[in-house]
């Protein structure tokens, strides 16, 4: 692609992933965690053809304003309207990617940059979702272990019996095992 890309992202891990993807495609990437006051100077210094950032990034208003406030500066314009294809707009929105093309450059040339950014943002999102899922599963298992312990102690059940009791309760009440475990632990805290 051979374009200069300025990547603005507070998330260093994700920025590294996007940078790797774009560099592999032949782009020169300047990634930065923005200092709001110097943003305009940094955009100028990067001599970027395209700016990629998080859709919700607080510095977007400043990037968009460059065009109206600083006539002698680079003039970034947001890319969404350029995508004639609604599916790719939806993909960018969903992945949380906003892209600006510096006026003068053919918007079509930037398309590939956005596609790479969207793919990397998505992969990162999926990774985060999996991590959150794994953490939740772990904490649920801990809950169930604690509830088993409560039952073993207060009802003098074996571990096997305690687990079966929890599962029966969950099935009878149509609730999740972790939720039942949570109630058991809460009740154990009640004064007798």
């Amino acid at each position: 692609m051979n374009l200069r890309v300025l990547l603005i992202d507070d998330n260093a891990e994700r920025a590294a992933a996007v940078t790797a993807g774009l560099t592999a495609d032949g782009c020169t990437v300047a990634a930065l965690i923005p200092d709001h006051a110097d943003l305009v100077a940094q955009v100028r210094a990067a001599r970027a053809d395209v700016i990629v950032c998080d859709l919700d990034h607080a510095s977007r208003d400043a990037i968009e304003s460059m065009r109206a406030l600083n006539r002698d500066e680079p003039r970034p314009v947001v890319m969404f309207v350029d995508h004639a294809d609604p599916a790719s707009i939806a993909a960018a929105m969903e992945a949380g990617v906003a892209a600006y093309v510096i006026e003068g450059l053919q918007p079509g040339r930037v398309r590939a940059v956005i596609d790479v950014a969207v793919a990397r943002f998505r992969a990162y999102q999926a990774l985060r979702a999996e991590l959150a899922e794994a953490r939740k599963a772990l904490s649920e298992r801990k809950l169930i272990e604690r509830a088993k312990g409560v039952l073993m102690q207060t009802r003098r059940m074996s571990e096997e019996e305690a687990y079966r009791a929890l599962r029966r309760l969950a099935m009878d009440q149509g609730r999740r095992l972790a939720d039942v475990a949570d109630s058991v632990i809460a009740l154990a805290g009640l004064p007798l």
Binding site: V40, R60, I63, D82, E103, P107
Partner: protein, 391 residues
């Protein structure tokens, strides 16, 4: 009219409850998000059978994109923004602008006033040396700044840097209008930059900017940090100016106008509630807890009760500050037209369609909503617009 506590209100005068009433709205954490926050916290949306989800946005651009592409149904927006979006400002000029009509509809004004022009102590002192009498006047006349700028030029110093929160904002156009009225060319005599609102006080304190125009609580924050003084409010530039509007996706409005009318009714009710002095403490708590947990409650309370501490160690002064009352919520298309003329005046657009504002501002929706909130569907008189001066 006055509105009693929400608990004692009679059931909402609604004929129907929409089957699928999940509306998502965005807000930016500012004092003037109060009508949305209050309508949510007091259950005013729910009384109309609406299930509204509020989500917090960090940038106006993100709000616009999310509404335009259906990820939000609507939200709080800077009053000039729907015009800018329709004209394709800040967007690549590929002719999609206005194709199939504007993407946004303005169905209510959320707040009038509420911004300050706050200048650094150093710049204030320069004005006092250059023009002692003018510099002492409040609201500060721009002529005082003009004389200080002349002194700077003579001394070979660079022009001051003034920050706004977004290029296509009430702050920008009102600041430019004020500067121009004092004979200052905003393009040449000062340097305008954009700084996100929560950063402006900090930036003034560290000397990277010399002043700013921003909504409360940020002017008060600068006074609190003892790095600046409030020179005037934007109400001193355009009395009764619209500040934020409630904009919804035009597609969503077309799909279920009755639902949007109930939304507007809730906003009118929230505005009536906010206008009751007895509700100040509750309103402050709601805004603090839901939007600005890091800002001291006293500062939020001052803004909501239209008072300001203009300089460190001064007592609060009454100012023409935030207004939420029913007349203030009416969406006047003339407001949109004034913003469009400013965009033209400052060279952001060459021309714009004559019916542009009328296509976006929808007082008809407000008029159908008013009776649902118990007020007469009578358009209030249009407050005077500022003169269109040439720069």
């Amino acid at each position: 009219m006055t509105l009693a506590d929400p608990q004692t209100l009679e059931p909402a005068r609604t004929a129907r409850i929409p089957a699928n009433a999940a509306i998502t709205l965005g807000f930016v954490p500012l004092t003037d998000a109060a009508p949305l926050l209050v309508a949510d916290a007091l259950g005013l949306f729910a009384r109309h059978g609406l299930r509204v989800g509020l989500s917090r946005m960090q940038a106006w651009s993100a709000m616009r994109d999310r509404i335009a592409f259906g990820a939000l149904d609507g939200g709080q927006m800077l009053s000039p923004m729907p015009i800018a979006a329709s004209l394709g400002l800040a967007q690549a000029p590929t002719g999609r602008a206005m194709a199939g009509g504007p993407p946004l509809a303005v169905v209510a004004t959320l707040a009038r006033h509420g911004n300050t022009i706050t200048l650094s102590d150093a710049l204030m002192n320069e004005m006092t040396s250059a023009a002692p009498h003018l510099a002492a006047i409040r609201p500060l006349p721009a002529a005082a700044l003009a004389l200080a700028l002349a002194a700077r030029r003579t001394a070979g110093r660079t022009p001051p840097t003034l920050a706004v929160v977004y290029a296509y904002s009430s702050h920008t156009y009102l600041l430019r209008h004020w500067l121009a009225a004092g004979g200052i060319n905003p393009e040449r005599d000062v340097r305008l930059v954009v700084v996100p609102p929560p950063k402006v006080a900090e930036e003034l304190a560290n000397g990277r900017i010399d002043g700013f125009c921003a909504g409360e609580p940020w002017g008060s924050r600068a006074v609190d940090l003892r790095c600046g003084r409030i020179a005037l409010t934007t109400a001193d530039i355009w009395r009764d100016h619209p500040e934020k509007v409630l904009a919804v996706s035009a597609a969503r409005l077309a799909q279920d106008p009755a639902e949007i009318e109930m939304l507007v009714a809730s906003i009118i009710e929230a505005g009536i509630w906010l206008s009751e002095p007895g509700h100040l403490e509750d309103a402050t708590r709601i805004v603090h807890d839901h939007a600005l947990p890091d800002v001291p409650r006293e500062i939020i309370a001052l803004a909501l009760s239209r008072r300001l501490v203009m300089a460190p160690d001064e007592a609060p002064t009454a100012v023409p500050g935030l207004q939420f009352h029913p007349d203030a919520t009416y969406p006047h298309p003339e407001h949109g037209a004034w913003w469009a003329r400013q965009m033209q005046r400052w060279g952001q657009v060459d021309t714009f369609p004559a019916n542009l504002a009328a296509a976006i501002w929808r007082p008809d929706i407000w008029q159908r909503a008013a009776p649902l909130a118990g007020i007469a569907p009578v358009p209030p008189a249009l407050p005077a617009l500022p003169g269109d001066l040439t720069p």
